[in-house]
Amino acid sequence: MNAANYLYISALLFTIGAVGVVVRRNAIVVFMCIELMLNAANLSFVTFSRINGNLDGQVMAFFTMVVAACEVVVGLAIIVTIYRSRRSASVDDASLLKR
């Protein structure tokens, strides 16, 4: 099987994640879609590592995972803080700067 097929799946998952970030309004779901995009990028890192026959891609994917874990921790803390003050997890409700 051609390893490039994994790249097509990766592109599809990335696109779906990007649509989710734009379309969904619940901040937690938006966040999960960002995670999906990061995972799609990881899949292409791993696939390129296999195509090129060295492990640098896998190390990069490892770093992406660490950064994603940090991002989840801080992002969810922000969501909880916003929820605590506004009683809502919708990204449309946090529009105080507009007025």
């Binding site: 099987m1 051609n2 390893a3 490039a4 097929n5 994994y6 790249l7 799946i9 592109a11 599809l12 998952l13 990335f14 779906i16 649509v19 989710g20 379309v23 969904r24 309004r25 619940n26 937690i28 779901v29 999960m32 879609c33 995670e35 999906l36 995972n39 990881n42 899949l43 791993v46 696939t47 590592s49 296999r50 195509i51 026959g53 060295n54 492990l55 640098d56 896998q58 190390v59 994917a61 490892f62 770093f63 995972m65 660490v66 950064v67 994603a68 874990a69 940090c70 991002e71 921790v73 801080v74 969810l76 803390a77 969501i79 909880v80 803080t81 929820y83 809502s88 919708s90 449309d92």
Partner: protein, 263 residues
């Protein structure tokens, strides 16, 4: 492209079978993530996609990353997501109506364009090139190979990442720290508010839920002396979740009072 499709269709390797079963499942689950209404269902579909990606990693000789994917993503990150969902409230389902006019068609058009661009680009860039494979790089074992890279070439980024992790933990602690802006009311103050407030309606505590001949769970409101339901007698989170029942279905006039004799 055509050649690629033929090549893939004709190989009967186990990996190809696995790919053509799991790949569509991953895409369908990711699409479902966008379409389902409740955030909890999205989280479960996301965990499903992540497990499939872990299988893909292991199939591509990235054993270490596959295990890390299961442990870190499906184990830690998704559980953190579910935990926050429970904290923020399971009722935080998204209404799927669009607030910005025309956002959805634009997003879908842009996504189709972007996805088409990526796929056509990949089709042109990688066609006719066979994968080298990781058997040489993984000769001493995958974990050993990654460790060699991580602690030689990438040792400085590795240290920076550790600083990042500590900073993230600190940031989460600072953000989640709750500072009280008002003075906590004392027992005395609470009592004064209760009896010298505007109304004495809640002086004796809130009413309990309704008790009916056929139902006495907490999801039905009690009836006031004038026969109207008391909304305060049902827990607010049950009401928000839509789990409150209508008291009318337990009305005496609805009850079948015919006695069936047993023989």
């Amino acid at each position: 492209m055509m050649q690629l499709a033929l090549e893939v269709g004709q190989t009967a390797q186990p990996e190809a079978i696995m790919f053509w079963i799991l790949g569509p499942m991953a895409v369908v689950a990711a699409l479902g993530m966008l379409l389902v209404k409740k955030a909890v269902h999205s989280a479960i579909l996301m965990a499903f996609v992540m497990v499939i990606l872990a299988i893909f990693y292991i199939a591509q000789d990235a054993v270490f990353l596959g295990i890390v994917q299961v442990v870190v993503y499906t184990g830690a990150v998704m559980m953190l997501f579910l935990f926050i969902l429970m904290l923020v409230g399971v009722d935080s389902s998204d209404s799927l109506t669009e607030t910005i006019a025309g956002l959805r068609p634009i997003a879908i058009t842009a996504a189709v364009g972007f996805g088409g661009l990526m796929v056509s680009l990949l089709g042109r860039a990688t066609l006719g090139r066979q994968a080298t494979g990781l058997s040489a790089a993984n000769a001493d074992g995958n974990v050993q190979g990654i460790a060699k890279e991580l602690f030689s070439t990438y040792v400085f980024p590795f240290e920076v990442v550790s600083a990042l992790l500590i900073t993230a933990a600190m940031g989460a602690m600072v953000l989640a720290h709750h500072q009280r802006t008002t003075v906590r009311p004392t027992q005395r103050q609470l009592s004064i508010n209760r009896f010298r407030g505007e109304t004495l309606a809640s002086a004796a505590g809130l009413p309990g839920p309704g008790v009916y001949a056929r139902h006495n769970a907490v999801d039905v409101p009690a009836l006031l002396p004038d026969g109207t339901p008391a909304p305060t007698s049902v827990n607010a989170s049950l009401e928000a979740r839509g789990d409150m029942l209508d008291y009318k279905s337990f009305d005496l006039s609805e009850v079948n009072t015919q006695i069936v004799e047993e023989k």
